[in-house]
Symmetry: C2
Subunit: 381 residues, 2 copies
């Protein structure tokens, strides 16, 4: 399916002037999906592309997953489904939030052939009163997350009247080793899904897939793993890194006398320090918590963040970097490798999230629209 869409494209001409470059390796996304699909054996792996494919671009990611063989997708809200439908005309798309509000809220589902996940009795009633009888839908069964989903008594009461195409539940603690709730949820889901014998069943997120066959059921819903995050953080990451994030140096300065740097004057630079300020900040999703603790790679050397992260700017202390690498226009690498043949790599996605005091999901979804985005690799790579 290589020929269908040109997935390799160079940076746009304006990217030479962009403050940040985000390279998304779609080949790695496809490889990661295939890795999860292989773990599923004869069962199916879907692709979770909610929140604009965790911030990486739902259209590009949707296309490459479909080309790799993914036939079922999950998004959070109907608007995302409408956007995805344009690039995966033949796939099944489930919308996790279900329809919100009145019967008007059903329009995007019917128009773009989206299947809602019905999460509560209200949504079930809304769908059954206004959607055509044959329109397929999924049903969310609550098993311990206590967020959305039909509680057990409703799941039992409604079973004889409903014929969903899919029943799902969410694991709350699949990434925590031996958390007792995980087995409890497995037991509860196994029992509840048997009330809907004609429906396919789906319980596992990325971490759930790793937990083994008991958790696989008919369909898994990997998300984080597709984007290179480690589903089980206490074990080595089996997935390929997808992202390279590089920030453009706007200006280099040598400090002649001891100086403070940035808002709040929190960093003290001794005389002789060389500082480089890049054109990206927390408005670009680089969390403020990286201030005075983060680092990047420049010319193969780790350069620390100097002072606070500003809205549009971050300053690095580049004194230790080789001078040939230090110039205005250079790129400091925060995630991934500096060049394709670099041996050392800057942070992985998980490492940078840890450094920022959060989880890879939040870091991913906060990555900004202001970066020049480059997609490399394609379905066949």
């Amino acid at each position: 399916m290589n020929e269908s869409t040109p997935l390799d494209r160079p940076f746009s001409s304006s990217s030479a002037h962009a403050g940040g470059l985000l390279t998304v390796d779609l080949g790695a996304v496809a490889d990661n999906w295939r890795h999860m699909a292989a773990l599923m054996g004869a069962k199916e792996a879907a692709g979770v592309v909610k929140a604009n494919a965790y911030g990486l671009g739902v259209e590009a990611v949707g296309r490459v997953l479909a080309a790799a063989g993914c036939r079922t997708f999950f998004v959070a809200v109907p608007e995302e489904g409408v956007q995805l439908r344009k690039v995966v005309p033949g796939a099944v798309i489930y919308v996790l939030s279900g329809p919100i509000g009145s019967s008007e809220g059903l329009a995007p589902f019917l128009k773009s052939n989206l299947r809602p996940i019905l999460n509560c009795a209200d949504q079930v009633a809304l769908w059954r009163s206004h959607a055509p009888g044959a329109a397929p839908y999924g049903l969310h069964l609550e098993t311990g997350m206590n967020r959305l989903g039909l509680p057990e008594f409703e799941a039992r009461a409604m079973a004889t009247n409903l014929a969903p195409s899919l029943v799902i539940s969410h694991l709350a603690c699949a990434d925590v080793p031996n958390h007792p709730l995980t087995e409890e949820q497995l037991r509860a889901f196994t029992e509840l899904r048997s009330l809907y014998p004609t429906a396919r069943a789906s319980l596992a997120n990325s971490a759930g897939v790793m937990l083994g066959r008991d958790y696989h059921f008919d369909l898994a819903r990997p998300g984080l793993a597709l984007y290179g995050g480690n589903p089980l953080p206490h074990l080595p990451n089996p997935l390929a890194q997808v992202l390279t994030l590089q920030l453009r140096v706007l200006q280099v300065r040598r400090v002649d006398t001891p100086q403070s740097v940035g808002y709040g004057a929190t960093y003290r630079a001794p005389a002789g320090t060389v500082l480089a300020t890049v054109a990206a900040g927390y408005a670009d999703g680089l969390l403020r918590s990286l201030g005075n603790s983060g680092w990047g790679l420049l010319g193969g050397v780790r350069v620390p963040v100097a002072g606070r992260v500003s809205m549009d700017l971050i300053t690095f202390d580049v004194s230790e970097a080789p001078s040939q690498a230090v110039y205005s226009g250079a790129l400091i690498t925060l995630i991934g490798r500096e060049t394709a043949d670099s041996t050392e790599q800057a942070h992985t996605l998980d490492e940078l999230a840890t450094e920022a005091g959060t989880i890879p999901y939040e870091l991913l979804t906060s990555l900004s629209r202001r970066y020049a985005r480059r997609y490399v690799g394609g379905a066949g790579s």
Copy 2:
């Protein structure tokens, strides 16, 4: 200037189904700008609308500020300037990052009549070799932030050859009471700006305006204050609140037996607890740090966040809210008032930022595109 553009518009028809509603009071933005302009007396107040007007929409905010009398704008990067130019055809627009890269990087400046702030000798050289001689530009003089700007020796060396329309510098600690660096920067800027007698001078951000006339020079650059943030957090906030943020309840559930809630099972709900899950999460800019500590207003009662913030969902413990207010489709208010005539208000912008462990700037810029956005109030309100 009321008639020029319709600034009051109702929620779009789809907003009844949106997971979150962000109401931006443009009348309050205009009032806040006028407040800052009044403090400046005969001197000028610009409008800082970088990072998409701190996330609130550069076009809507640009229009209303221009209608209120704002004639000078600051953005971070040229792309933002190109977008702003469409709605403020006659205004002066400065781009704080200056031109990046090669001479190609100058194109948007010339095409959209944007004035770069030149931050270093390289940018000065680039501009002077490729821009028409008469094209106006600003010059950034470094006085203690050590982020961008010409150091003193360069500022002196270049003074005889340059005729900028504006010289600027940034205060690093203006919001910290009596920080010694603030006065040092004032002294340094006063001296350096005298090297450029034909240029207008600008030092103050929102906090700087509050510090009094010594800091005003010709032009101030308020940003945060326009959006209702408190420039001097140790004093009462003189600005009007701009935002109301409300999240749609997807589902209400009563817990029959003690249960845990959400990822990691970090919240224990006793039997009888009523939980409401809303359709917004950290992918919508509601920082994960609000998990198990934030709260919203529902029916006039404070309802706490139950468990972790998920990517697309947050659960609240609504047991204490009046039952008439608790239904699927209800709105939980996180910032601002529940209705126009509510006496109690949920968080101010600053309060919610503090609760999330960050500053209002980061919270503002992380607010999401997935909200249905409603603009109320206009230039004349």
